[in-house]
């Protein structure tokens, strides 16, 4: 029974036009169903013939899942809104530039034209052992191929590892956490629940086979941005090898409100690329409250941020990298003025 990767196996394709219809299909096919948003993560799994769903439910034809709408003093973004649509939206550009920066850092223009915000936050990890179809913990086995004395694990986790050392690849996830976004989930039974962005993601300790709280049959329908952090002082940075089509080695996203006296009134800060879920650094947020947004505050806070980090053989750099990015999020980056 030899392995072959490519081409996509056959499946049944459905294009429902309402969330209810989609969920009826998900119920009908149960574990054999696969939800298709932009498809950029899905097609990898399907073309590699590792995942073999019986039925694919394409959400692109459901109008209520698309678009950006005002909601209270904030915004509600349909989960199927493409990253390009998010980036081009006037209110996002004006008041939520953090999300704009994060979404623009994702992959490539064509991917942003097709990839959705909901898909971006819900995508699976890119651990190359897991994606190769090896039977690791995350794939239901009982080994982590990335955390052995011989593994090549430069891209893997320094925090929150629990058997699995994969990291979350999403660029928009930390930005949404920093913006205190709320994720709207429609459960299989039709009930709706809203979870905070930082609680949307799960680590391997909680559930080693999933990246998010979504259970079979659940659909992420929208992402709500509250007004509380609109227009705050934002910082986003993604460090990667290539400037296009590359996942973050470490990324940081923050929103900060600075009082008249220069002291930080409140701040939300999240990093990604260091753990299986994007991490909100609440201890750092608490620490910087009331302090000036300067180097001294940044240095103390950054050291707190990396407390407990446990590097693997090839990813020790992530510790100083995360520390420095947290620092930058707090104190900013000096502009350079080279002659040319």
């Amino acid at each position: 029974m030899a392995v072959i990767r490519d081409p996509m196996p056959a499946f049944e394709l459905f294009q429902p036009t309402s969330v209810e219809d989609a969920q009826a299909l998900l119920r009908r096919y149960g574990a054999g169903a696969w939800v298709l948003a932009g498809g950029l993560d899905s097609f990898d799994w399907l073309k590699d013939r590792i995942k073999r769903p019986e039925a694919v439910v394409d959400l692109s034809g459901i109008p209520e899942l698309r678009g950006v709408r005002a909601r209270g003093d904030g915004l509600e973004i349909g989960a199927m809104t493409t990253l390009t649509e998010v980036v081009r939206h006037g209110v996002v550009r004006e008041r939520y530039a953090l999300l704009l920066d994060a979404a623009e850092a994702a992959a490539s223009p064509q991917i942003r034209n097709q990839g959705t915000l909901g898909g971006n936050v819900s995508q699976d990890t890119r651990c190359w052992y897991y994606r190769a179809g090896w039977p690791c913990y995350r794939a239901g086995g009982n080994i982590c191929y990335a955390d052995t004395p011989e593994s090549i694990n430069r891209e893997h986790a320094i925090l929150g590892a629990d058997r699995c050392v994969a990291v979350n690849p999403s660029d928009t996830a930390p930005a949404l956490i920093a913006l205190d976004a709320q994720m709207v989930i429609r459960a299989a039974n039709g009930g709706e629940r809203v979870v905070a962005a930082e609680d949307y993601f799960v680590g391997p300790g909680k559930d080693i086979t999933r990246m998010t709280v979504l259970q079979p049959g659940d659909l992420l329908t929208a992402i709500r941005l509250p007004g509380a952090w609109a227009g705050a002082r934002f910082y986003f940075e993604k460090v990667r090898d290539r400037q296009v089509w590359d996942f973050a080695l470490v990324s940081v996203a923050s929103a900060m409100v600075v009082g008249a006296g220069g002291a930080i009134e409140r701040m939300r800060l999240a990093v990604n690329g260091v753990a299986a879920r994007p991490l909100r650094l609440q201890a750092v947020e608490d620490l910087v409250r009331g302090r000036p947004a300067n180097e001294a505050t940044a240095a103390v806070a950054a050291n707190l941020a990396i407390a407990g980090a446990q590097p693997l053989r090839f990813n020790a750099y992530k510790v100083p990298l995360m520390r420095n990015l947290v620092k930058r999020a707090i104190r900013g980056v000096e502009a350079t003025t080279w002659a040319s």
């Binding site: 056959a10 049944e12 459905f14 073309k47 073999r52 223009p109 064509q110 991917i111 097709q114 296009v244």
Partner: protein, 201 residues
């Protein structure tokens, strides 16, 4: 063995016979497609709008747009470089938006206007301004990536007709060139932007 592969195959065999597809790649006669149609699923015979023409095509459910174009419609100008949404060689326009056709299910663009490299030139053979610019500037080397780059540029220029060199570089950054002729490609596409502006004013 609890691995799904074998069970899956059994499932597929049990699925029964299917209609044959007209194209090359998925033309099989056997029962192995599992292309039964469950109630409510998509119809295989679809109408596509490609390069301004309406084409009726028999499309498998899992078929990508690149495969339909290349193997069903004979439009081999659209290249497959990686088939994994990483290189951009397969870029086409769907409703003026550049997309990786290797990673678009054909069924999801039934209602869209699809334009490929073959659809850029006018019926009389006059090249599209961006194509003309590539010819004039001798853009590209091996040119396997060319159709994708040109389509990405044409799509990008619809959103920004007067880009700077840096902006255009960002606009076409979803395309790889292994000759790494990026400088000359950018020069030729900047010329293309200029031709395009001239042709529309």
């Amino acid at each position: 063995m609890s691995y799904s592969r074998r069970n899956f195959i059994k499932g597929v065999i049990a699925g029964g016979a299917v209609a044959t597809s007209a194209g090359y790649l998925f033309r099989g006669s056997g029962p192995l497609f599992g292309q039964t149609s469950a109630p409510g699923s998509v119809e295989r015979l679809v109408t596509l709008n490609v390069n301004g023409q309406t084409r009726r095509v028999d499309v498998l459910k899992q078929e990508t747009l690149a495969m339909t174009l290349r193997y069903k419609l004979g439009l081999t100008g659209t290249k497959l470089g990686c088939d994994r949404a990483e290189c951009g060689a397969c870029t086409v326009l769907v409703d003026d938006v550049p997309r990786y056709s290797c990673s678009v299910l054909t069924h999801t663009v039934r209602g869209g206007r699809i334009v490929t490299i073959e659809g850029l030139a006018r019926a009389n053979g006059a090249l599209h301004p961006v194509q003309q610019a590539v010819v004039d500037e001798q853009g590209f080397q091996c040119a396997f990536c060319l159709p994708g780059f040109v389509m990405a540029a044409v799509g990008f220029l619809k959103t920004n007709a007067t880009p700077t060199r840096e902006q255009l570089a960002h606009g076409i950054s979803g395309n790889l060139c292994r000759c790494q002729d990026y400088d000359k490609i950018l020069t030729s596409l900047m010329r293309g932007a200029e031709y395009l502006r001239r042709s529309t004013t």
